[in-house]
């Protein structure tokens, strides 16, 4: 039975709010550092982002057949001009094997991903499983374009989100992750107050987020815009870099470079945290869809 259902939040990854205490790398206690005036990025820099979208295309009985579109690209800025240097797009058909068997004939040529579910089909649970598949597929595409870019260029590469998706990325001394999401917070108690009350133009001490599933990185909070009178998270990003002494040495410089990236302001509701370079990648990918 054909259908056109776009599930809520089908454009982004699912995240769970939680606190996972991190390990401080710079000396205790957790502190804040004024960064001084922004500095222009030295030389060319590239931005990497991915997008995802999925919709229910049909139901085989009660089993949803999900169509997904994931894409990622790298846009490199030379001077003040940015241009797309790499992009990749994948289309997926996701569902239980018996549902795919029926749908694949109607949609030939699209890669299928079967849901490995042992429990009986539940339409909502199947959608949750499909979403996880889409998240992984997007991560794979992002890794693919990131690695491809790195094979051909050694410029700084700013990734939207966490570097911890890949040990290759976390080992790269010229990659930076800029996470807008704060669903997982690195501190609790008074340190959390210090962390979330970061003044504009300041960074937090460097810490190492704790996670069993993720590659180790160094991270720090950076307040891009003054949050007074606004939300706690307004203008706050988490910066990630390779877990090396070099990253510690460059943390202030990287922060100043990112402060310079506040302008131009992105044409997006998340403009306080969305760097224009990342926004440009998103716009490119959406326009290509």
């Amino acid at each position: 039975m054909p259908a056109t259902v776009e599930p809520p939040a089908s454009h982004g990854r699912a995240e769970e709010a939680r606190i996972i205490p991190a390990e401080l790398i710079e000396p205790r206690p957790l502190g804040t550092r004024a960064l001084g005036p922004p500095e222009a990025w030295p030389g060319p820099v590239a931005f990497l982002d991915g997008i995802q979208r999925y919709v229910v295309l049909a139901y085989a009985g009660t089993m949803p057949v999900v169509g997904a579109d994931v894409a990622a690209a790298v846009r490199e800025r030379n001077g003040r001009e940015a241009r797309t240097v790499i992009s990749e797009r994948r289309r997926l058909l996701i569902g239980r094997p018996e549902a795919l068997a029926l749908a694949a004939a109607a949609l030939p040529g699209i890669r299928t991903v079967a849901l490995a579910a042992e429990e009986p089909s539940h339409p909502l649970r199947d959608l949750e499983l499909a979403r996880a598949v889409v998240d992984r597929a997007r991560g794979e595409v992002e890794l693919s374009v990131g690695n491809a870019y790195r094979r051909g260029a050694s410029h700084w590469l700013v990734v939207d989100g966490s570097l911890a998706e890949s040990p290759v990325w976390t080992a790269d001394p010229r990659m930076i992750g800029v996470a807008k999401s704060h669903a997982t917070l690195p501190f609790g108690g008074p340190d959390l107050v210090t962390y979330l009350h970061l003044p504009a133009g300041h960074r937090s001490s460097v810490f190492r987020p704790a996670s069993r599933h993720r590659a180790p990185v160094y991270a720090w909070g950076l307040r891009l815009w003054d949050w007074a009178g606004r939300d706690l998270f307004f203008g706050l990003v988490r910066v990630e870099a390779a877990p090396t002494e070099e990253s510690l040495r460059l943390a202030d410089s990287i922060s100043r470079w990112l402060l310079a990236e506040r302008a131009p302001v992105s044409a997006d509701a998340r403009w306080d945290r969305l760097l224009y370079g990342i926004h440009g990648v998103e716009e490119y990918l959406r326009a290509q869809r």
């Binding site: 800025r77 310079a260 302008a263 131009p264 302001v265 224009y276």
Partner: protein
């Protein structure tokens, strides 16, 4: 289908619900560095269809949602750190369609790749392919279209510029910046050099209405390399006109010419324009106040023209036979009538041959005034020196300088010359098949408002019927809105130079896009917007400087001489016929002679142009110069519409 494009793509057509493509308009985007500009001609290639269009408007915008974000991004400091990434920005252009290939069915412009038009594309886009080639091409170069480093000649169709299909050209623009005069001079050069032989012979007659504008059309200008290149691109030779004759009336002294072209080196082809009673009487309605010329006055003028002037007139009431050939003889004739009426007196002396004495007095006064107000143009003694009616040369340029004339005399010159042109063209005995008449300051001679004048009617008549005769009006003015609409409307070809902003804001220009109007308001010298019947949309072109001296340059190189004494002026006029003549010799000859006698002899010599001017002049001085036999006008009267006595 058209040939494949030769230039790389510069854009792509976009169509949205808010900005859809139609059969006559479309939009395309291009890069920020693209050479596209307002007026550029582009071609769109899509499956099975090629579309040509001209860019009429341009838009640029970025992804900035609100200006506030720009302020926030700069921390409120315009001089702050430059944004490290240039904002995404679009260049979107609106295009008016010039031509579809195939023409049918008429469909919206497809989504396709946009190229800048090359030479062949411009020919096709402007539909010039119908007349630039073939067995009998009729293309007249008017300038080059230039955009994005490409340059292509633009041609007008002689059939639509000089008739019979359409005709006339009107040019509008502000003084000094629009290069109206230069444009006409260049176009006349182009016409004379490229007018096809199969279309017949052509001449031009220009009225110089202000200063020295058209006084040096036979003198070469110094052109720069770019101008020479443009001439070569258009297939023209940068040379001045070689068959130019200037006509200017005398000043009141009857020997110094009333023109700024009085330098001795230019005297060879500068002649006096001199008319007598017959020439004026035929156009009496031009120079007489309309209120004066009631039915009775008109009847008396007709009586004079048909029965008296140029004929032997006898009346038993008059003491002798009269032969009226000049204003002086006419006055004698009037005096004789008044004497008769005064003698007849006592009730019976108020009417002579059915004409009331008041009417006769009125006409005598008005005609007398003409010779006074037009002194220098109109002579009392009947001498005439006129344009070479019947002997116009092919590619000949005749300039009549009326800049220094009284407005009434200007009207008389316009009316008589244009009417004579019309008569001769109707009879096909002018010597050429087409005559271009150039009139500047059209808002003065054919104003949109104000009383109906003879000159305005005459200009309207040319514009409405001239093309059938080969009589073509090239006209110019500062403000098109101030010119009689029908005169403008009948101009098949319209040219706009640099325009006044207030004029452009008028409804008459509302069909142009804001960008086109903005470009017109700042158009550099040498660039024009041309509308021609073959062009679906007007196009911007560039033309080279005329190969002739401008008025300002001419005055510097050939400064007009100060007004000469009577004797020296006579000597100058004679030296124009024979440069070897010594001034002192002429002064000796005319010493002690009456000025009227000398003037008469001089004009007779100028008119006759003898091989030996001095002996001829001496012979004329020694006896009464015979008057030229005045031929009665036998055909066309100057424009007189039925129902209108004037």
């Amino acid at each position: 289908m058209s040939e494949k494009p030769v230039s790389p793509p510069v854009g792509r057509v976009v169509a949205t619900e808010l900005k859809p493509s139609t059969p006559h308009q479309f939009y395309f985007w291009t890069s920020r560095e693209s050479p596209i500009g307002i007026g550029a001609i582009v071609r769109v290639d899509a499956e099975g269809r090629t579309v040509f269009g001209v860019v009429t408007d341009g838009f640029a915008y970025s992804d900035l949602q609100t200006p506030m974000h720009a302020v926030i991004g700069a921390d409120g400091d315009p001089a702050g750190l430059e944004e490290p990434t240039r904002r995404t920005e679009i260049r979107l252009y609106a295009v008016a369609v010039l031509r579809h290939i195939p023409e049918e069915p008429v469909q919206p412009v497809p989504l396709g790749v946009v190229h800048l038009a090359a030479d062949a594309d411009v020919v096709t886009a402007l539909r010039m392919d119908a007349y630039v080639a073939g067995e009998k091409p009729t293309a007249i170069p008017v300038g080059v279209y230039a955009a994005g480093g490409l340059e292509a000649p633009v041609y007008l169709d002689a059939d639509f510029l000089l008739g019979p299909e359409a005709a006339h050209l009107n040019i509008t623009g502000v003084s000094g910046l629009a290069t109206k005069t230069s444009a006409v001079e260049f176009l006349l050069t182009s016409l004379f050099q490229t007018f096809p032989a199969h279309k017949g012979r052509i001449a031009a007659l220009c009225f110089n209405v202000k200063g020295p504008d058209l006084c040096f059309l036979d003198q070469p200008a110094e052109l720069n390399e770019e101008d020479r290149r443009l001439y070569a691109r258009l297939g023209l030779a940068p040379v001045p006109f070689d068959k130019v004759r200037y006509f200017a009336p005398y000043k009141a002294d009857g020997v110094n010419l009333n023109t700024l072209r009085t330098h001795e080196a230019l005297a060879g082809n500068t002649e006096p324009l001199l008319w007598g009673l017959r020439e004026v009487l035929d156009y009496a309605e031009v120079v007489l106040n309309r209120d004066d010329v009631d039915a009775k006055a008109d009847a008396f003028i007709d009586f004079l023209a048909e029965r008296v002037v140029g004929k032997e007139f006898e009346d038993h009431t008059l003491p002798r036979t009269f032969r009226v050939r000049s204003f002086a003889e006419l006055d004698e004739f009037f005096r004789a009538i008044f004497a008769v009426l005064e003698e007849g007196g006592r009730g019976g002396g108020e009417v002579w041959r059915t004409h009331h004495i008041a009417t006769i007095r009125k006409i005598r006064n008005r005609l007398g005034n003409i010779s006074t107000r037009s002194k220098g143009l109109v002579t009392d003694d009947g001498e005439v020196n006129d344009l070479p009616w019947g002997g116009f040369e092919d590619r000949g340029l005749y300039v009549v300088d009326v800049a220094g004339l009284d407005p009434l005399a200007q009207d008389l010159v316009f009316a008589r010359i244009v009417s004579r042109l019309r008569e001769h063209l109707e009879r096909r005995d002018l010597g050429v098949d087409h005559v271009v008449v150039f009139v500047d300051e059209l808002n003065k001679y054919a104003p949109a408002d104000g009383p109906e004048t003879y000159v305005r009617k005459m200009l309207l008549d040319i514009s409405e019927r001239g093309r059938y005769l080969g009589l073509v009006l090239f006209s110019a003015q500062q403000f098109r809105s101030q010119v009689q609409r029908r005169v403008i409307g009948n101009s098949g070809t319209m040219i706009l130079g640099r325009m006044d902003g207030d004029e452009l804001a008028l409804p008459g220009y509302s069909t142009m896009s804001p960008a086109t109007r903005a470009r017109l308001a700042a158009l550099p010298k040498g660039e024009l917007l041309v509308r021609h019947p073959h062009f679906t949309q007007p196009v911007f072109i560039r033309f080279p400087r005329p190969a002739v001296l401008s008025g300002r340059e001419g005055i510097e190189r050939f400064p007009p001489r100060v007004e000469l004494s009577f004797g020296e002026a006579v000597a100058r006029r004679l030296r124009a016929l024979d440069p070897s003549l010594a001034t002192s010799r002429v002064l000796d000859l005319i010493g002690g002679r009456r000025e009227e006698e000398v003037r008469k002899a001089l004009n007779a010599t100028i008119r006759a142009r003898p091989d030996q001017p001095l002996p001829f002049f001496v012979r004329c001085l020694g006896r009464e110069v015979p008057a030229e036999t005045v031929r009665t006008r036998d055909v066309v009267r100057p424009i007189r519409t039925s129902g209108d006595l004037y």
